[in-house]
């Protein structure tokens, strides 16, 4: 039955998607609400420009008439996306302001006019190769910021066995604190970020001291701990919303101009973000491989009871891991706020699953696996937009997670366990 449904769904999709009408009026008599526009350039109407309207209950194409006008009837008083196909404009004419896609919402009337701003210019056609390069760069950037959060999550899992669902709230916390200090209190951004990182670390310390350590001492099982973290995540997330509301706000300096580096188009914030991630990740690697406490951390991850027996202060190691993990998550949140861009109460929760996917892909509990997994997830999310619609870009990464676990259940860098 479900297979039948799926097949029929696909059929309906293609049937619904492929209705290019070559008239300047489409569905106008069929529906009450009408989107309309007039495509002109320097007073001259343009003929045969392709307009696409998508939204609730419709997915329609229309071409402008000789008078440059088009009208599309839509079933609902809702928000629709109108796209002008720039390839169908005459040579030397481009959309100059606001891009070739607009969102149209009905006001008091049943007709809404949608007009594009056209001007002279040569359109920069982005070749597939250039797109690919840019997606890879974005993917790396996104992957690196995911890695900051993922390594903390993985270290916490490795040392305590806890799958921390409240990690998303640690991510949000960093961005929120930056917003509070940089915008509400108008401090310089660099200072606000520093304060936010210190506060994130303090939050990690507090959570371990006030909640997780007492629970470990009670001998609460890991599954119970995981559910506690879910409760904590809910409580924290809605506390954020309670105080800052549901709106998305911008950090100072978000969305700056892009720099052209050959085919690459990146802003200096993207570059700084990547540089910071790489430096911090190298720092974490140094910490884990070279310092005493870092080695102790890996020992605890490997075998807590053995580590404890060989004189390592396991509680201290876990405390350090929480502080570092929370600070990394906070930093990741700040970078995420610039990448999205914007700060909102549930921004961490939006990428929590991707962070988990990265950790699981790399192998639960292995710090370097988390890095590899994050890069893969980041690249996959960005590259998938080349073929998938943007609102499905997370789907690809989650599918990859499931597929990798099918082939290699212990993750990419994880080890198999022995039974018995």
């Amino acid at each position: 039955m479900a297979v039948m449904l799926l097949v029929a769904l696909t059929v309906a999709l293609f049937a619904g998607g492929a209705t290019p009408a070559h008239a300047d009026d489409v569905d106008v008599d069929k529906y009450d609400y009408v989107l309309a526009g007039n495509v002109t350039f320097n007073g001259t109407p343009l003929d045969g420009v392709l307009i696409t309207v998508t939204g609730p209950g419709t997915d329609t194409e229309v071409k402008t008439g000789a008078d440059g006008k088009w009208r599309v009837g839509v079933p609902e008083k809702a928000s629709y996306t109108v796209t002008l196909d720039e390839d169908t404009l005459p040579e030397g004419v481009v959309v100059t302001k606001g891009g070739n896609t607009m969102t149209a919402e009905f006001g008091l009337t049943k007709t809404k006019s949608v007009n594009f701003f056209l001007g002279e210019g040569t359109r920069v056609t982005v070749s597939f190769f250039d797109q690919l390069i840019n997606r890879v760069a974005n993917g790396l950037n996104f992957g690196l910021l995911l890695a900051l959060a993922a390594i903390g999550l993985s270290l916490i899992y490795g040392t305590t066995g806890l799958s921390n669902f409240a990690h998303s709230e640690l991510i949000t916390f960093g961005a929120l604190m930056t917003l509070v200090f940089a915008v509400n209190l108008a401090l310089p951004v660099w200072l606000a970020i520093l304060i936010a990182l210190v506060l994130s670390a303090a939050l990690g310390w507090t959570l371990d001291a006030a909640l997780w350590k007492p629970l470990r001492k009670r001998g609460v099982g890991v599954i119970q701990l995981m559910i506690v973290s879910i409760g904590l995540a809910l409580a924290m997330r809605y506390t954020y919303q309670f105080f800052v509301g549901g709106a998305t706000r911008q950090l100072p300096g978000a969305s700056p101009a892009k720099l052209q580096l050959g085919p690459l188009s990146l802003s200096w914030i993207d570059l700084t973000s990547m540089a910071i991630s790489v430096v911090v990740l190298l720092g974490v690697a140094y910490f884990l491989l070279r310092t005493r406490i870092g080695k102790a951390t890996r020992a605890v991850s490997d075998n807590p009871s053995l580590a404890s027996a060989s004189g390592i202060d396991v509680d201290f190691v876990i405390r350090v891991v929480w502080v570092i993990g929370a600070a990394l998550a906070g930093l990741s949140g700040i970078l995420w706020a610039y990448f999205r861009p914007g700060v909102s109460w549930d921004m961490g929760f939006q990428i929590l699953l991707l962070v988990f996917a990265a950790v699981v892909l790399g192998g639960l509990g292995t710090a370097f696996g988390a890095l590899v997994g994050s890069i893969i997830v980041g690249l996959f999310v960005e590259l998938s937009t080349l073929v998938l619609p943007p609102d499905m870009k997370f789907v690809g990464a989650l599918v990859v997670l499931i597929v990798v676990l099918l082939v290699r259940p212990q993750g990419i860098l994880g080890r198999k366990e022995r039974i018995g």
Binding site: R415, K416, R418, I419, G420
Partner: protein, 304 residues
Amino acid sequence: MSSNATPSSKPVKSVDLHVGDAAPGCKKNDPILIADGVRRTFGGLTAVDVDHVEIPRGAITALIGPNGAGKTTFFNLLTGFDKPDAGSWTFDGTSLAHVPAYRVARMGLIRTFQLTKSLALLSVMDNMKLGATGQTGENMFRALLPVLWRKQDQEIEARAVELLTRFKLDAKRNDYAASLSGGQRKLLEMARALMSEPTLVMLDEPMAGVNPALTQSLLDHILGLKEQGMTVLFVEHDMHMVRHIADWVIVMAEGRVVAEGDPHTVMQNPAVIDAYLGQHHDSDLGSSDADNVEAMKELLDDDK
């Protein structure tokens, strides 16, 4: 340590189990389990590399060896709980390679675990009933109609009561298994394994963590299995127990079978002494190993 426990009556040893010299991988008169070229590596470490080994039917065979010799891994491989890199092995003439653990168990090869796996939050009786195979009510649709399985369930319960009485656990039948002591859990696990009426019982360190008061009864029960016609293969670290009840001993070291023979002769084998003593040069001297060295000296003295 439980080293001084002995069975309450002198056990009758099975003899004439093998053909030819008692060398590693020697032929048995009536083997129940034959393994060939079974190899398992973890990363770069070879945990098990057994060329050929046969387990005699109707006898008690001990699989001994120092820590890390690959005994438990070998157990896991034979019972389908782990997959070897290479090798084949047969049980009663049927190949067991690539057979999942639950089917191995259904063929009559039942194992227990080193760390007891009593189902803590099930009652002792439910633990026992779970051991019975071929239950009608274990099918989801038939489970809905008690008429179909109630009678069988009562028969199973009767058998369980009988076994529990034998293992002196009948007073605990309605308690959660979690409330039993470590030794009682070992007994429960063994009794539960018997519910399926197995032909080969594989016990992974049955004496580990059992208090001395219970070891004697455990030994008696293992001997009892043989009397009822079952074959027993057990992993053990404790040499004393091996000497008293085993008919045949297979010694593993570093993943290989290094010696085979009856308990008394095998202990004199230089390879065995090497395996146990040699270990002390490069690893910490565990107290249990020290005990084993004592036990071996004792064995050597016995034979003089």
